[in-house]
Amino acid sequence: MNHTTDPQWVIKADNLTKRFGDFIAVESLNLYVPKGHIYGFLGPNGCGKSTTIRMLTGLLTPSEGNINVMGLAIPKQAEALRHKIGYMTQKFSLYDDLTVKENLQFIGRIYGIDAQECKKRIDQLQSTYKLNQYQHQLAGTLSGGQRQRLALACACLNQPKLLFLDEPTSAVDPQNRRDFWEQLFDLSEQGTSILVTTHYMDEAERCHKIAIMEKGTIKADDTPKTLMDNINAHVVEITTTDLRQLKQALSTLAEIQSAAQLGHRLRVLVSKHINDPICWVMHQCQLHHRPLQQQDIRLVTANLEDVFVSHTGQNPNLHKQEG
């Protein structure tokens, strides 16, 4: 990545490391987030996404490394940063026993927004995030999608130039997730930079730029398209019977980065140094007494999940319970 093309970084972190006792949560992480971008952290739970966000917002003190967020040295100037950012926590952190409007009013007062101005912004946010009809409902009785819209509205009340969203859509249905992302793009359009963590591939693909994280390190970072174009593997799909045994046989080979079953198909990542992956795979199947027909096998374009797997050797969604 060429850092000189855009000098406008909202987040700069160098050599960021966080240790909890012997456990290294984040290791030598370098992160540059350009202004106005939606920057995604993609990784399984427990890979250090939340820890990184907490260090960037000054909630955790890094064991090593330098952080600069919006020109402020963190964690030293964390208090000054609080006025400039919005933060949406992974767990719903507003008050269940306050109504939608009361929660917004509370946040408004905490940020010292003038009463008149605050009222105006609350009305505006309530209509933007379709909360008008629920404004007198207790936050604890809202659905997942409504809660998350409320949380976003609260995070935006202070009109921050930088938003941190920690797995904002983990408890939200697909339709609400799509709406949510539309709202993020609206914010981005208005000049808000957004750092968002996710373990959903479709969400990561929407980001301007993503970093693939695993075990506290960034394995790769670029635009989703560049990452998919430059994947370090051939993606081969096989359609046949006995996929389970075939998968087992292929998985043992060093040249196979991964083999994952998708219904009747087996999606196989073959190392880039194999020149003709189709031939090679057919040959391997032959050796394992599972001959394939030419029409059963084809090369396909890589998606983000393939990119993720090729960088980390695992499927993020399989490891949700680890965090």
């Binding site: 208090e79 026993d97 007062r109």
Partner: protein, 369 residues
């Protein structure tokens, strides 16, 4: 500068308003605010009483004399005992005590009239001494019945007249009701505030709060303000009802009473805040509250006088704000003292609050590590 103060005030107001709204929706807590003082007052006022009544006893009247019947009637009238049975021998009475049918028996010997004339002890109470409260009541009864009987029969028994019979029921209430304010305020104030911040942490609200510009001290003060009002309401309930039901006099000036209580409330609240910065869960906060509450009940002079305790216990007691307030509230309510009379205790309460608030604000870290 003005802007900073305004923002600081707004943030405290935000916390206080939020806290009041949450309280008004938390029916159980709200009920506790009213019910704890109410129930405790009635419990301590009526049930927990040194004036023991209706102890089951038996009579062994071997004298079969008019004087004997007089004495039995006089004992009945005291209502301290409930005569369950009459036996003819002391052995039968002892057996009944052993079985637990009765707690005591009065044995009047055949020579009753002669003993009365000779100024000797006229009868014998045999008592189940395992319960000291009952034993004590019977001991008192011995004096009382004799005093009631003797003047009408013999004027030579004047040596028994030394005992002054105050109304035991009224006396314990008079002492207990003001003390109860200290105990109940310790219980509710420490409990409410100690869970206040822990609850935010448990429900995940804290992670949001610490990413906002709120300062620890603003959060602490904003959180305790509503509970100060609650504490004053509880004091009013206890003293008001104590005055109505148990005729506890309020001799001191109301402003001294309010100010003294206010100081104790803030001291208790800061104690709760310190707990809330240590405890990780509401259960832990509750346990630590009990850790404070028990010494307050046992050592503060609420039940037994401080002077009767070993020096080490007194030393511990003096650390607790409850002990100081126990002295303050009793002196103001019962003796009509002013805050100036109690300046040492007042200074302790103020100092405790200021230091406590500082410690709590310092311990409350706006970081997660």
């Amino acid at each position: 500068m003005l802007h900073t103060i305004r923002n600081s005030y707004m943030r405290m107001l935000a916390i206080t308003t939020k806290e009041i709204k949450q309280l008004s929706r938390d029916r159980i807590t709200f009920a506790m605010v009213i019910m704890i003082p109410l129930i405790q007052l009635l419990l301590f006022g009526y049930a927990i009483n040194t004036d023991v009544r209706a102890i089951p006893v038996a009579i062994v009247d071997q004298s079969d004399s008019a004087a004997g019947r007089w004495i039995v009637e006089a004992i009945k009238v005291t209502q301290v005992v409930d005569i369950k049975n009459h036996f003819t021998t002391a052995e039968q009475a002892q057996a009944a005590i052993r079985r637990g049918d009765i707690k005591a028996a009065l044995i009047l010997p055949p020579t009753l009239t002669a003993k009365m004339a000779n100024n000797e002890p006229i009868g014998q109470w045999i008592v189940d001494g395992s319960d000291t409260m009952i034993a004590g009541a019977i001991k008192q009864l011995k004096n009382m019945s004799l005093n009631d009987i003797m003047p009408s029969i013999s004027s030579t028994q004047s040596r028994f007249e030394v005992s002054l019979f105050y109304n035991p029921e009224q006396r314990s209430a008079v002492n207990i009701v003001p003390g109860l304010i200290a105990v109940i305020l310790t219980m509710t104030m420490v409990l409410f505030t100690s869970s206040a911040i822990v609850r935010e942490r448990e429900r995940g609200n804290l992670e949001l709060l610490i990413t906002t510009p709120i300062k620890p001290l603003e959060l602490m003060i904003g959180k305790i303000l509503p509970y100060i009002v609650i504490g004053l309401v509880q004091m009013t309930i206890i003293l008001g009802l104590g005055n109505l039901i148990f005729a506890v006099p309020i001799n001191g000036a109301i402003c001294h009473l309010l100010l003294g209580t206010l100081l104790f409330i803030t001291a208790s609240l800061t104690l709760g805040l310190i707990i809330s910065t240590i405890a990780k869960t509401q259960l832990q906060a509750m346990q630590m509250t009990i850790f404070i509450l028990l010494p307050t009940i046992l050592l503060s002079g609420f039940i037994t006088p401080l002077e009767a305790m070993p020096t080490a216990a007194q030393w511990i007691a003096e650390i607790l704000p409850g002990t100081h307030f126990m002295r303050v509230i009793r002196a103001i309510v019962l003796k009509g003292a002013t805050l100036m009379d109690l300046i040492d205790d007042i200074i302790w309460l103020v100092g405790f609050t200021l230091i406590g608030l500082g410690v709590a604000a310092k311990r409350f870290n706006k970081r997660l590590d």
